[in-house]
């Protein structure tokens, strides 16, 4: 039997009906068509499905959609303001922090959550911040460089 699920995603309220076994990543991708969030391992290992739930980074493949009832969610689609990319998004572009791009949405959400919680992380803290995210292409250095550039204030938030 389907159950009602109320969510706010990227500021927009949604009211949908899902089967209890629906994972949050499925609700976002299959029900709300927000396919920016990627599903990789589906077993809490790769971090590609990372989103922000009430301000915290979580793996959306490892949460039942119904557990997010009433929550405020930010996905990769919610980072840019209009056509203006977020500082981290710009920095990722400039520093070549992705190749195939499959991990990128998760990396950006993990690092966005990191900077929300701790705007001045050390290099070690940045590494810990992406500890739950796997990138099979670039390695991690370009990602760490991009985050470092934002931490140093080289990228400004859009007004």
């Amino acid at each position: 039997m389907k159950k009602e699920l109320k969510l706010k995603v990227n500021g927009q309220p949604y009211d949908i009906f899902v089967k209890p076994k629906t994972l949050l990543v499925e609700a976002l991708r299959d029900h709300l068509a927000l396919t920016g969030t990627k599903r990789g391992c589906n077993s809490s290992s790769c971090g590609a499905c990372t989103i922000m739930l009430n301000g915290m980074a979580v793996k959306s493949c490892s949460i039942l959609a119904l557990q997010a009832n009433g929550a405020e969610i930010v996905t990769i689609e919610g980072l840019a303001k209009g056509t203006e990319l977020s500082p981290l998004q710009k920095a990722f572009l400039d520093h070549g922090s992705y190749q195939c791009g499959f991990c990128t949405a998760g990396m950006l959400m993990a690092t966005t959550a990191l900077l929300t919680e701790n705007p001045k992380p050390t290099k070690q803290e940045i590494k810990e911040g992406i500890d739950g995210n796997i990138c099979r292409c670039t390695g991690y250095n370009s990602i760490i460089r991009a985050v470092t550039a934002v931490v140093k204030g080289e990228y400004k938030e859009a007004k």
């Binding site: 589906n42 971090g47 915290m56 980074a57 979580v58 793996k59 500890d131």
Partner: protein, 290 residues
């Protein structure tokens, strides 16, 4: 593929216990689900009824036990414990353990009670809680009972929870004076489970002799276990490197690890042999400062 189930989201402990009592073994409790959902996806667990207790806010807290110890609600997330200012002095080891548990994403949603109830011998919290001599409180409609953490896990993924019971609270007593506790684990990827984990708590007496000691091993047997024979090697003695090495040897023989894709049995025994002296030494250094 996850099998369909009926989902309940009680808001109070009472409601949850009533549901548990009604559905008995047909029901499974889910909280953060960071372990359970993996098993459900693999089809290893397929409950008819899922009782989702994540929303029971009365079970998420860290408070004093009034005697210098801590009471931690079973639904407290790993991340909350990691970041809590109460995890200082004798309890700092809990935050150190949490920092190394899985990834931030998992720690943000997963709970300490859920981790214990999963009953994985490689989980990080159990060895540390055993070293700290912590106890667990379980509730059912019939009442409450307590159990030391070291008696809670019975076998792989099997705990002492009876049908109708729910883990509600962890009590970590104030460590005795001059006590130090430390934990480490060996793993290849930082966010992985322990290949072997070792926690030790040492209380120093007159002349820095080892008045009391608790050594707990993770992923070294079917359950988190106390290395009591190794403890006996050190207890009452003035600790030396030679004695520590002997305790390591002893622990590696009393451990009963398996071989799996992470490591062979021999390798795990070797890890126990190396890590027991190392972490006991660290616990001793902390005890001197405590």
């Amino acid at each position: 593929m996850i099998k369909d189930f009926e989902h309940f989201a009680p808001k109070t402990l009472k409601e949850a216990l009533t549901l548990l009592d009604k559905y008995q073994d047909e029901a499974k409790i889910i909280c953060g689900g960071q372990s359970l959902l993996i098993l459900m996806r693999q089809g290893l667990v397929a409950p008819e009824y899922l009782i989702d207790i994540k929303g029971i806010s009365e079970l998420s807290y860290i408070k004093s036990d009034g005697k210098g110890g801590l009471k931690i609600g079973a639904l407290t997330t790993h991340r909350t414990i990691e970041k809590s200012s109460q995890m200082r002095d004798g309890f700092a080891v809990l935050a150190e353990m949490e920092t190394r548990l899985a990834s931030i994403q998992t720690r943000n949603w997963g709970t300490i009670g859920g981790n214990l109830c999963h009953g994985d011998p490689a989980g990080d919290p159990a060895p540390v809680l055993i070293a700290l001599n912590a106890t667990l409180k379980m509730a059912s409609l019939k009442g409450e009972r307590s159990l030391p953490v070291e008696d809670f896990t019975l076998d792989y993924f099997e705990t002492a929870l009876k049908t109708g019971e729910l883990l509600t609270e962890i009590t970590v007593p104030a460590p005795p004076a001059h006590t130090g506790t430390a934990y480490t684990k060996f793993n290849i990827i930082e966010s992985d489970l322990a290949t072997v984990g070792v926690a030790a708590s040492i209380t120093l007496g007159a002349g820095d002799s080892c008045q009391d000691i608790r050594i707990a091993l993770g992923a070294a047997a079917a359950t988190p276990m106390r290395a009591k024979k190794a403890e006996a090697v050190l207890k009452g003695k003035k600790i030396s490197d030679a004695l520590l090495a002997q305790a390591g040897e002893t622990a590696s023989t009393e451990a009963d690890p398996i071989s799996d894709m992470q490591a062979s049995e021999e390798y795990r025994r070797e890890l126990v042999k190396v890590l027991v002296p190392r972490i006991s030494k660290e616990a001793m250094a902390r005890a001197k400062k405590a």
